[in-house]
Amino acid sequence: MRATSKHHSVALPWPAEAITRVPYQVFLDPAVYEHEQEQLFRGPVWNYVALEAELLQPQDFKATFIGDTPVVITRAKDGALHAFVNRCAHRGALVCREPRGNRATHVCAYHQWSYDLTGNLIGVPFRKGINGQPGLPDDFQPAQNSLRQLRVAVYNGLIFASFAPRVEPLEDYVGANMRSHLDRIFNRPIRVLGHARQFINANWKLYAENVRDPYHASLLHLFHTTFGMYRSSQGGGVTLDDRGRHSALHSYRRTEAEEVAAYKDAELRTYQAKYTLADPSLLRGRAEFPGLTIQTIFPCLVVQQIQNTLAVRHIIPRGVDRFELIFTFFGYTDDDEELCAIRIKQANLVGPAGLVSMEDGHAAEIVQQAIIRDKDTASLVAMGGRAVANEESLVTETAIRGFWRYYRELMGFTASAGVTKENESWMHASSVLQNTEAARSTSPTKRRTKPTETRRRA
């Protein structure tokens, strides 16, 4: 099936059983990557960009990315938040070159064009010329030469931005199920504790899968299980939003007796009681949350609560086979000194040097290495069945299926011929989603679509 936007055309045959299969081409094809920038990151989604706690004062700013587009988030003098593309309207230079700071205006280094905190152009050197020689033409309109301004919305201290002229309200986008999880973490003012950054040589969606995958947790992460932080048999499950695009994986500890019973007969490497941590203070936390929650908000936000460590992880694509992962660790403004120290200490568990999360980036890399050829073959995400639904089990890939279902919807990728019972209903929905132009001009099978229903689910 060929999906097109006004800029790109991508041929991508999704396997017939679309719900449990992911063709490797989506991780390899530069055309898919380009199509994502338009259809997904600039599509009808809310992209996480910052924490309000990073922009507390008027004139504070943060430079970040939506997809791979550089953007700046600012807090204006009236307290309102703004977002704009970080690219000078004149000749395309990066206007803001610091990651964070406080400025009344943003001035391009190249020719000193200056912009206010909303991204409006307010100054052009020699606009009227010099020594009687002409400057810019008389019909030059500063208002038409501002930085591209984006929509901004805030939920519970999380700032999101959108390129889309029409996008559902942020509260609806996040959805009731996900709001309740966010409300649990962002229940009072937070304080940023620090950042850590790493580069991973893999497509960003391999990490999007990883954080929706509770199945791997006890199998890949030796440390989790060896020291009793996490076991597949422990209580927990997966909650999705109504459309399956966001997810929350949560687990809680069972009593000692329950755990012993659960592992009595199992000979899994995930239970190795003989090992104990030489430095148990690393795990000695404070009772605060019932277990562990890894929450995702499509496309690139992860909110993590592991014991007492709290962090948002921002996935930034850097080309088809590389992404950056930024961890922003935080606590609450009312944390006492000891609790703050506990959060800091447990930050040793996650992040690029973290005992727990070291393997996640590595796992994404070994997939990227192996799929280099055979891009028309597909991975299997069938653990737990074919449903995209809330589950009371940690051995499930339901959230990964939800991610891909919504991804296909945004990207206009539909399954190839041979529709099976399982994906029939989805096929119906996605055939309506197919970009109208694509269906008319380039689609080999020419699905009929109603223009007014483009990109709306049936």
Partner: protein, 165 residues
């Protein structure tokens, strides 16, 4: 300052580098006192390394040697896919100076570079920065009481562990 002290300090740093490169973990751990502090600060929003491991983020921080023992256990277990197959490292330590002796313990600063080769990816890269060691004489041996590592290129290539720095 006695030149032989500087030589002894530098020898210890070179020995540590060799143990890390040769993956002689037990001998590497034995260079540290039991109460040794090991600290790899993160960088803050103003572009400076964090200066208080208790209240600010670190990339790695242990207040005693036990934390390093856990790291070594993990590496030796062979069960961490992120740590196997092992990378090959080459630690270069230079510009060794004794900066302070007032508490009877030599404070030694040095510059370092680690060339890293990942056979799995057939990819080589470099981390580099500064070390600050505090050494103490124990049973006629100089041992490490404190090691602070400043990692100048803190954008991590996938994984960061004790043998990378």
């Amino acid at each position: 300052m006695a030149p032989e002290l500087l030589t002894r300090c530098a020898d210890l740093l070179y020995q540590e580098a060799a143990y890390l490169d040769e993956r002689r973990w037990a001998e590497w751990l034995a260079l540290y006192t039991e109460d040794a502090e090991y600290w790899l600060p993160a960088w803050d929003e103003d572009g400076r390394p964090t200066d208080d491991p208790q209240s600010q983020l670190s990339l790695i921080y242990y207040s005693s040697r036990t934390g390093l023992e856990d790291r070594v256990w993990r590496i030796q277990s062979g069960l961490s896919s992120a740590s196997s197959p092992p990378v090959r490292t080459c630690h270069l330590v230079t510009n060794v100076r004794i900066t302070n002796l007032t508490d009877g313990q030599p404070h030694v600063s040095s510059h370092w570079q680690v060339q890293i080769y990942r056979p799995e990816k057939q990819h080589a890269f470099t981390y580099f920065g500064f070390y600050e060691h505090v050494l103490r004489l124990e049973e006629e041996q100089l041992r490490i009481v404190r090691k602070k590592i400043i990692l100048l290129n803190d954008i991590v290539e996938s994984v960061l562990d004790i043998y990378h720095v």
